[in-house]
């Protein structure tokens, strides 16, 4: 079972660092990186995979803990291919704990769902009233030339809970070719961003993101308040992968600029 554990804390000088880390195959991480135009001391971690994707019957888990006024971003090096699985399925779970005035972003690149792939994806966020989390979750269907087969199933669950495990929001869906693909293959991917913060309504951010989605003719997207005053939801459908990545990136930049006050540099991958 592949396992990645990251714990972020803050040095007396205010710099965020990895207090604890553990990465078992197929996960691999390098040391924390620090970029211009990030919040002071923000640690950036790139998750890499040594295996080239997610395979049949794999069970992968990631556990992120951010506390002590830390600033962190966790992102993937590239999209994650979910390979074909003629018999079984794969499981991927992510737990994110953000407390004590901390800010963390979990911005994963899209899951690429190959023909006959079957994945159960679960993300659990635990957050207190002083902290903020931004989570991006997305998938894109992949079609092989001359092959009529498509992905089989994506069971996705994202839960937002208080630090005491009280449920605030639960986004659960089961996607298959029948309920997602129409005859024209109008949409082949979907992106979702969750801006999780319980202290503020963020009305200006809501209106700004709503306007962006209205004018973006390459996607069909919308923005809304999450239940129980825990933040915002951005959801959009796309016709191709480049648009999916660009829209996630543009939305992330707008969210970061609003929350932190500085436009971040685009991540090189």
């Amino acid at each position: 079972m592949g396992n990645l554990q990251l714990e972020f804390s803050t040095s007396p000088g205010g710099k965020t660092y990895l207090k604890n880390q553990y990465a078992a195959y197929p996960f691999h991480i390098c040391k924390a990186q620090y970029f211009e135009n990030d919040p002071p001391g923000m640690a950036n971690i790139y998750i890499q995979s040594a295996s080239g994707g997610i395979y049949e019957d794999e069970a992968l888990s990631t556990n992120v803990i951010a506390h002590s006024s830390s600033y962190s971003q966790i992102t993937t090096q590239a999209s994650t291919i979910v390979h074909g699985m003629p018999h079984g399925m794969a499981h991927h779970s992510v737990d994110i704990n953000v407390t004590n005035h901390s800010y963390t972003e979990y911005i994963s690149d899209p899951l690429i769902l190959f023909p006959e792939s079957k994945l159960c994806s679960r993300i659990n966020v635990f957050i207190d009233e002083t902290s903020t989390a931004v989570v991006a979750d997305s998938f894109l269907l992949h079609f092989l030339s001359g092959d009529g087969r498509v992905f089989e199933l994506l069971n996705s669950s994202l839960q937002i809970n208080t630090e005491d495990t009280e449920l605030l929001t639960k986004d659960v869906y089961r996607v298959n070719s029948k309920n997602f693909l129409d005859n024209n293959r109008s949409y082949i991917g979907m992106g979702t961003l969750y801006v999780i913060n319980r202290a503020d309504k963020h009305q200006h951010l809501l209106e700004s993101l709503q306007s962006s989605m209205q004018v973006n003719k390459d996607v069909y997207g919308g923005v809304s308040y999450l239940p129980n005053h825990c933040g915002l939801l951005v959801k959009f459908l796309v016709k191709d992968g480049d648009v999916l990545k660009k829209t996630i990136q543009d939305s992330w930049i707008a969210i970061r600029q609003y929350l932190v006050g500085v436009k971040p540099n685009i991540r090189r991958k």
Binding site: T169, Y173, Q210, Y220, S224, N228, L233
Partner: protein, 226 residues
Amino acid sequence: MMNDDRVFTLLQHGDSIFPSGSVSFSWGLEMLKNDNLVTSSVGVEDFIESQLHDKWGTFERVVLAHCYEHAKDLQAVIPADNLVECMTLPSELREGSKRLGSALLSTYVKLDNPVAKQYQAFIHDNKAHGHLVVSQGLLWHSIGLPKNPVLTLSAYNFCTSALSAALRLGLISHIDFQMTLTRLGKSISKILTWPVPEIEEIHGFTPVSDIASMRHEKSETRLFIN
């Protein structure tokens, strides 16, 4: 088989003239029309079919059945109401569901229904939300309707409400309305044969209409609440 009294009750409480408040809801259809994603009776039928298969059947039907079965213990229904709140992500759909549920409860309070009075008190005390399917399960149990007719009535009400919105949006004719409803009835019959899972298993996947509802929040030309 239902006896004649129960058939009469079902007809009375399922009648479109019964004050349920759903007349001002389009369930995302208004925005889908404005965005040119639903432009014909075929599109309307596809929209409602997808709502039945990927939301009503997998989410609302399960909550409704759960609340019906626990209707004698209102405290046991509150967690289901909270779960619907947590899992209805677009705010217009969430607020609309509560508004419809509260409207239904208010009508039954005026009809002197004791269950409606008790549950409305929970809402006033901020102990419950009163989502539509929760209210339907409680109230229709309280008037003596059997479970399967309750499930059918809920699906029927959703279909006629959405079709009425489509009619007023100029997407379908009165004849389209009836022909579509007949076909949807067959889908509902099939969905009613699905096993009812545990309430923790509920899920839904209707991204196009969810997004339409989210876009509707910013729409300047609105006939409907959602």
